[in-house]
């Protein structure tokens, strides 16, 4: 057995001493085997991953257990004797390659650092190996690729360069810590392929950490589900996917199956929102949006889909009036909206509300929930006293939070999902016609995200509000949207009802987007590579 972690306990420094975050976890790994660690945030996946290198991040400490690598307990070694293992026999691939490469050195210099520290190769040998790996990873101009600095390379290429760097000392084990989470879906495929190929070619053992079931299904031989610093269950991949034993695992798997029942929307003469020919850009820069037109019918949800930089968020800024367009206009219920925020009436402001991606930064940390929700009530509706209090309670019940428990709290005392619900209630308090939901579920764990999606669709049924749903996640689109607008490079490339666009994609970009979304089928990546992507 290569790696044997027994009853590992890790503690974190808190305000009142040390609190446990791993409560005695086991992990076994043979040579050439890949284990997937899956779980929500706070499950302790990453902590367990780097613990296999005998490493605890600043603020954490080992409180018990063993980490045996080939029979040597790393935790019993002093720091100086743990170092020869790191990067040499066990290597690490971080989530954000852009932040994890040192900006001051060339990629090749950083590649050869490990071999030179550990004395596994000469500089010349190591550089030759780097060029070989760069070629295997399909990096452009592999002979000269390493001469670039990290900021000169794109995100997907950088992530592959980091995989190459991890292999520099020909390790026996690599820890992959959410290596594709920060990437766009179409980029993700090539990185997944590079990782899987190199793991196989070099007969590496690997720990693959992710929160995405579909991704781990492609990579792992075995899957371990974790929650709150404990193991939930562990089984071979196919068995785990088809017949999980624990309720928690089943609930994780079930998330992806949420579908809103299809609805027949009334024919609409005048849509809730109509953007026509919007062209916009920042300051003196070029156009970020070019001739963007779409409609959001009353009571419907329109998803705006695209990868980073496609112009989704800029579209939202134009609608809210933060960024007056250079050309084109936006109409609400058939009435033109003044392009500038300052020129809009209070009634127009009330009609368009926004829910943000990061609930953390969307709520003022110094205001209680009561203050946050009261303001729109008194500002738009001039409510005060008993009437306002009654409406506050009604809002809290709508978002399924107990008023007596939560109204007096500060946002810092709420969980991520609860904060997002408060963000929804704040938008709802204005009784708007139209709400922009900007990636509202992408910062949340899947179970929590599903709850938010269910809440949003129920609220739509109750109030008849229209949503513009900005997202990069096609599963979310299928779950909630009536219509879809696909954006690329600031243009609308495709639009129609959800089934028109997603089931029979007409535009090649939509097709590529769809094909790039991993499925919870272990053979998906193999098929995808065979189809010639990446």
């Amino acid at each position: 057995m290569l790696l044997d972690i027994r009853n590992l306990k890790v503690e974190a420094r808190g305000e009142d001493g040390w609190t446990p975050i791993l409560h005695g976890v086991d992990l076994q790994l043979d040579r050439g085997e890949v284990v997937g660690l899956i779980g929500e945030s706070g499950a302790g996946k990453s902590t367990l991953g780097v613990a296999s290198m005998g490493y605890a991040a600043p603020g954490l400490r080992f409180a018990g257990g063993e980490v045996l690598l080939d029979g040597t307990d790393l935790l019993k070694l002093p720091p100086a004797r743990r170092r020869p293992f790191r990067g040499h026999r066990i290597a690490y691939v971080a989530q954000s390659a852009a932040a994890s490469f040192n900006p001051a050195w060339r990629l090749l210099t950083q590649f050869t650092e490990g071999p030179l520290i550990h004395g596994t190769a000469t500089r010349a040998e190591s550089e030759a190996f780097a060029r070989d790996l760069y070629a295997r990873m399909n990096l452009p101009d592999p002979d000269n690729f390493g001469l670039r600095y990290p900021h000169q390379v794109s995100g997907g290429q950088l992530q592959r360069a980091m995989v190459a760097m991890a292999m520099a000392c020909r390790p026996e084990l690599i820890v992959f810590d959410e290596p594709t989470t920060a990437l766009d879906v179409t980029t993700q495929v090539s990185v997944l392929a590079a990782i899987r190929e190199s793991v196989r070619d070099f007969n590496l053992a690997a720990i693959y950490i992710t929160h995405d079931l579909a991704v781990v299904a492609q990579m792992a031989d075995r899957i371990k589900v974790m929650r709150h610093g404990r193991e939930v269950e562990e089984a071979p991949t196919r068995q785990m996917l088809e017949a999980p034993e624990e309720d928690y695992t089943r609930s994780l798997w079930a998330v992806r199956s949420f579908r809103r029942p299809p609805r027949v929307l009334p024919e609409d003469e005048v849509p809730a929102l109509r953007a026509s020919g919007v062209t916009a850009g920042y300051d003196r820069g070029g156009d970020v949006l070019r001739d963007v037109s779409f409609e959001v019918p009353h009571g419907s949800t329109v998803a705006v889909v695209g990868e980073s930089g496609s112009g989704k968020s800029t579209t939202a800024r134009v609608i809210t009036g933060l960024l007056p367009p250079r050309l084109g206009q936006v109409a609400l219920n058939g009435q033109l909206l003044p392009p500038r925020l300052a020129d809009r009436t209070r009634e127009q402001l009330r009609s368009v509300q926004m829910i943000y991606q990061m609930a953390d930064t969307a709520l003022n940390p110094r205001q209680t929930i009561r203050q946050i929700l009261s303001r729109p009530l008194s500002f738009y509706r001039r409510l005060s006293g008993k009437a306002r209090e009654a409406r506050l309670r009604q809002l809290m019940e709508q978002i399924e939070l107990e008023p007596n428990l939560f109204l007096g709290r500060l946002p810092g005392e709420l969980s991520g999902g609860q904060k997002q619900r408060i963000g929804i209630a704040r938008a709802l308090a204005a009784e708007p016609d139209f709400i922009i939901c900007d990636e509202v579920t992408s910062a949340l764990d899947q179970l929590v995200a599903e709850g938010i999606l269910r809440l949003l669709s129920r609220l739509q049924d109750e109030t008849g509000v229209s949503y513009m749903f900005i997202t990069h996640d096609l599963a979310t689109v299928r779950a909630i949207a009536d219509r879809v607008v696909v954006m690329q490079h600031g243009r609308v490339v495709d639009s129609g009802t959800t089934s028109e666009v997603l089931d029979r994609p007409r535009h090649p970009y939509t097709a590529e987007l769809l094909a790039s979304v991993p499925e919870a089928d272990p053979d998906w990546l193999t098929r995808r590579i065979a189809e010639g992507a990446g």
Binding site: L322, T361, A362, L363
Partner: protein, 281 residues
């Protein structure tokens, strides 16, 4: 519930306070008492000539007398009142000036920010002490000029901090949410920005006080501080410095009085900053 929770958190804060911070708080309290009750505590008046020149320690004059035969202890106590009050007043002025302009620059942005920032850049391009000397030589000495010049120059540092802190808050989604709601500038400043930059601003106030206090003491020492016969610590060092070459440490006492108060404030500020940065992650 929240009252007891708050009470508990204050108790916990006190328990976790490092020794340096506790010492700092105690010392600041002691200085405050001396400053407030100087007339009661001082045996003699600050300008009163009560004995011969440079009398030794002991007898009616526990710390001896100065070059004019005034009681050192009394002048030390009066010096607390004069020096600390002037420094506090200057700090408050610098702070008001700097934080108001800094907030305006951050909230309005655009040309308001441009103009204010350029002016501050220029004022900060000269070492503060040199600028102060230049302005004082042009304006002439006097408490009013002293307070004004130092308040403006130190206000630039407060401006930088307040502007940067407010800028960080201005990009938060909750500020955008308030703007989209249609809130006015005054609301943004008062409800969204100020509560969120209060902690760094309070720490900055302590830090600023230290710098202002040291600057005023330095100027007094150079003979450009409070006019005689007002007792102020920097000036007392200068007036009695000659004693040091004779091995008498009396002139070091007012200097030590300055140092101890500054250390106390710095210890408290250091703890506050450390706590604020610790809470972030």
């Amino acid at each position: 519930m929240s009252a007891t929770a708050r009470g508990m958190s204050i108790g916990r804060t006190l328990r976790h306070m490092p020794a340096t911070a506790i010492i700092g708080f105690v010392l600041i309290a002691a200085y405050a008492v001396v400053t407030l009750f100087a007339p009661v505590l001082a045996p003699y008046g600050q300008a009163e000539i009560v004995g011969a020149q440079f009398e030794p320690w002991g007898g009616p004059f526990p710390l001896g007398t100065d070059a004019l035969g005034r009681d050192m202890l009394s002048r030390l106590i009066w010096g607390a009142r004069n020096t600390v009050t002037v420094a506090l007043l200057t700090t408050v002025l610098a702070f008001l000036l700097g934080s108001v302009t800094g907030l305006l620059a951050a909230v309005f942005g655009g040309w308001v920010d441009m103009v204010l920032s350029r002016v501050v850049d220029i004022l900060m391009a000269i070492p503060a002490l040199i600028f102060t000397l230049l302005l004082l030589s042009a304006l002439g000495p006097g408490i009013g000029n002293l307070v004004m010049v130092i308040a403006v120059l130190d206000g630039t540092r407060v401006f930088r901090l307040a502007r940067a802190a407010a800028m960080d808050v201005m990009v938060m989604d909750y500020v955008e949410a308030a703007r989209l709601r249609g809130e006015g500038t005054w609301w943004l400043i008062r409800r969204e920005v100020l509560p969120n930059i209060a902690a760094p601003l309070i720490a900055e106030f302590g830090l600023r006080f230290c710098f202002v206090f040291l600057t005023i003491s330095a100027l007094s020492f150079l003979g450009l501080g409070l006019p005689p016969p007002l007792a102020d610590w920097g000036g007392m060092v200068r007036d009695n410095a000659a004693l040091i070459t004779f091995g008498d440490i009396t002139p070091l006492l007012p200097a030590a009085a300055i140092a101890v108060l500054t250390i106390a404030v710095n210890f408290v500020v250091d703890w506050m900053l450390h706590r604020a940065s610790g809470l972030k992650d």
